[in-house]
């Protein structure tokens, strides 16, 4: 089981801030493919990965990051702090 968090327009497009999923995906990219296959709103949110960023256990990561031992994944657009 892994927690998936969504922020900003990714959260709005998918329609929820957080969910817990059962997955056998080995990498973030594989998890994204599983989510996209679920429903249109996921497919729409993940249509352009270059517009998205990912954090693995609260650290910025790449989409090819492994999921073994990971508790929390977050997807969001490029950050706009400051």
């Amino acid at each position: 089981m892994i927690d998936i968090l969504y922020f900003a327009w990714v959260r709005e497009r998918i329609g929820l801030p957080k969910e817990r999923v059962e997955t056998s995906a080995a990498t973030v990219a594989e998890l994204v493919e599983e989510l996209k296959a679920r429903e249109d709103r996921y497919a729409a949110a993940f249509a352009d990965l270059s517009a998205l960023r990912v954090a693995v256990d609260q650290e910025l990561a790449d989409f090819d990051a492994p999921l073994a031992g990971v508790r929390e994944i977050a997807f969001f657009p490029p950050m706009t702090g400051g």
Partner: protein
């Protein structure tokens, strides 16, 4: 290293004054504050963040600044939640023996806060709401620190 993530307003002048008065051993203090601009018909702004990761990211950015520059100290205050035009969004302050370090560290902190801290701004005006797009310049600004 004073790091605060909060929805409450803060008093930039009081914070800057206290920080400077607390670093009279340093000689040079630089501050930056970002304000919700009163222009372009903006009615309000809302900043979303990633509780937990935000604090970690700011601690990491501040520690990196302390390691890279000859700093006596630095501070970051960053708000989230709803804000009106004219309100302060965030501030950084740096104290160093020489001004070059204080300036460089403040710019470094800002460049990382802009693109690497998990905050997302949404602007509301008469026509509706829109997420602020990341600026290419902000991503490019990070490049100048990668040689160090």
């Amino acid at each position: 290293m004073d790091i605060r993530v909060q929805s409450a307003r803060f008093d930039f002048g009081a914070e800057a004054g206290t920080f400077a008065a607390g670093h009279t051993d340093a000689g040079a203090v630089v501050t930056f504050t970002g304000i919700v601009r009163r222009d372009g018909g903006l009615a309000r702004m809302e900043i979303e963040h990633y509780p937990g990761m935000t604090e970690r990211a700011l601690e990491k950015i501040a520690a990196e600044a302390m390691a890279r520059f000859a700093l006596a100290d630095c501070m970051i205050v960053h708000r989230h939640g709803p804000m009106e035009p004219g309100e302060m969004i965030m501030m950084v302050a740096t104290a160093a023996r020489h001004r070059a370090d204080a300036f460089a560290a403040a710019e470094f902190l800002m460049d990382y806060l802009k693109s690497r801290a998990p905050f997302w701004k949404k602007e509301y005006d008469a026509d509706g709401a829109a997420w602020v797009a990341a600026r290419d310049e902000d991503e490019q600004a990070l490049g100048r620190w990668s040689g160090g």
